[in-house]
């Protein structure tokens, strides 16, 4: 069963709270849920320790879990741009596009390494990722995927802020998310230049024209479901806080 992302938030919050009150293992047996890469419930009822490299990682709990979640996203982004820079589109791209993509690659690698260092021994193992669905020789395919990753990253961080309890962790997330937003706008502007149309830097598809707010923040479950296309490793997010 793979619920639609758009319907997922409230439903999963409810399921999550149900899981907590009924005991995860029992709940999972009852619900029979597998949500893409997101395993709701896990073999260890405490679910506190990330498990290294056996095809599944457990993000852990509390702020550590949220930072591991961010670390997973940054791993994905860093791997994506690294592959982009080795691809045929990049090799023949215009200088300004090369500069933008190189900068973004550098930023994502720095984000990834920063979070890994911050997490220390609590950091999840390296994810196995695949970009087989992206044509690295095709500009539209590469930039379209880049836009997806950047927009997803922004909404992920926007949704993760309220899950953090330590103000210094919130600040770290804040320092990163606005740079992701800068990336998103730049990539979008390469695709739909100097425009207010859908798909442009802050088009109505990503900023609500009535409220001026970024598209609704995404829950970790929604984000990891969306990212599942590109992540082979199973990411167990069951320990993450839900509010």
């Amino acid at each position: 069963m793979n619920p639609k992302v758009s319907e997922e938030n409230s439903e999963l919050r409810f399921l999550g709270s149900l899981a907590r009150t009924t005991g995860r293992r029992k709940f999972v047996q009852w619900a029979g849920l597998t949500l893409g890469v997101v395993a709701l419930g896990c073999s260890d009822d405490n679910g506190t320790n990330p498990t290294p490299g056996d095809g599944e990682v457990n993000l852990g709990t509390g702020d550590t879990g949220v930072l591991n979640y961010a670390y997973a996203l940054e791993q994905l982004e860093a791997a994506f741009y690294t592959e982009v820079l080795a691809g045929a589109y990049f090799a023949g791209a215009q200088a300004d596009e090369k500069e933008i993509l190189t900068d973004i690659r550098n930023h994502e690698v720095i984000h990834r390494d920063f979070l890994k260092a911050a997490l220390g021994t609590s950091a999840i193992a390296d994810l196995t990722v695949t970009f087989a669905s992206v044509n690295m020789a095709d500009r539209a395919s590469v930039l379209g995927a880049a836009q997806t990753f950047e927009d997803l990253g922004v909404s992920a961080y926007n949704g993760a802020g309220q899950l953090l309890t330590d103000a210094s962790n919130l600040l770290v997330a804040g320092k990163i998310v606005s740079v992701e937003a800068r990336h998103a706008a730049a990539i979008r502007d390469l695709l739909v230049p100097k425009s207010s149309a859908v798909g442009s830097f802050a088009g109505d598809d990503t900023v609500d024209p009535t409220t001026g707010l970024e598209i609704p923040e995404r829950t970790p479950t929604a984000v990891l479901t969306a990212a599942a296309t590109y992540v082979t490793t199973t990411i167990n997010a069951s320990g993450l806080p839900t509010s």
Binding site: V179, A185, G212, E217
Partner: protein, 250 residues
């Protein structure tokens, strides 16, 4: 009834003294205009707006932060409304960008007013020449430069206040969703000006706006490099932001 204080009063005493004395010479800002803005406010923000009137309302600490944000949004909104409305200022090819940004800033003002209700501060009187230092509505390059400065300031300002909103998840997330939009705006305007979309070190090509970029060079533990500084946007304190805004507030 709308509060006719501005955010600058009751904050940094030294700064307040400068601003208030200047304002006293020019006259109080119009409480009536604020009241009209409230009356014409869209009803789409019902859920958030109700919070202001719920039992006990929002804590004062959150009200203070939201009024601070509202003051910045007032500044941005009037800047873009004036710029977009000035015939011949913005070339047609660039106009969609600034119209889109203007639309968002107007929405941010309305949203924050709706959340704050009667606690919303009045709109200050702005002088976008900063006493004659800039000429943004006659010189497009200066309009762009100030736009970039205001957007980069907005990013740093919201970031600096996020921790103060942690007690209320709805307000925090709303602020974060504005914060990232300011980041999008900043990136676009910077690139329109031939800059990178991200801030390298504390660099600015407009020396008069250097305070906006102070401290941006932090590398956050990564080996010091252009990329490390670009990879993180740094916060500004409320006092730093108000000092940046002060020259533009009469």
């Amino acid at each position: 009834m709308k509060n006719d204080r501005t955010i600058l009063e009751g904050l940094d005493p030294e700064l307040m003294e400068q601003v208030v004395s200047r304002r006293a010479a020019v006259g109080r800002s119009s409480a009536l205009a604020g009241a009209l803005a409230i009356a014409s406010m869209p009803v789409a923000f019902g859920l958030l707006a109700k919070r202001a009137f719920a039992q006990g309302g929002l804590p004062q600490g959150i009200i203070d932060v939201l009024n601070f944000a509202l003051t910045l949004e007032y500044l941005e909104e009037e800047f873009y409304v004036t710029g977009v409305g000035t015939a011949g200022l913005i070339p047609g090819a660039d106009l969609p960008i600034f119209e889109q940004i203007r639309k968002h800033e107007t929405a941010h003002v309305a949203l924050l007013q709706s959340v704050l209700g009667a606690s919303a501060v009045a709109k200050p009187t702005f002088d976008f020449t900063a006493g004659g230092a800039f000429d943004p509505f006659n010189v497009y390059g200066e309009f762009q430069a100030l736009s970039q400065g205001f957007e980069d300031t907005g990013v740093r300002a919201y970031k600096g206040q996020a921790a103060a909103l942690m007690s209320d998840n709805t307000v925090l997330t709303t602020a974060l969703r504005i914060h990232s939009v300011e980041g999008r705006h900043a990136s676009e305007v910077r690139r329109l000006r031939g800059q990178k979309g991200w801030i390298t070190g504390n660099q600015t090509d407009v020396p008069a706006l250097a305070a906006i970029y102070a401290g941006e060079e932090a590398a956050n533990g990564a080996a010091t490099s252009a990329a490390a500084a670009e990879a993180f946007d740094e916060p500004l304190t409320m006092a730093q932001v108000l000092a940046i805004a002060d020259p533009f507030i009469v």
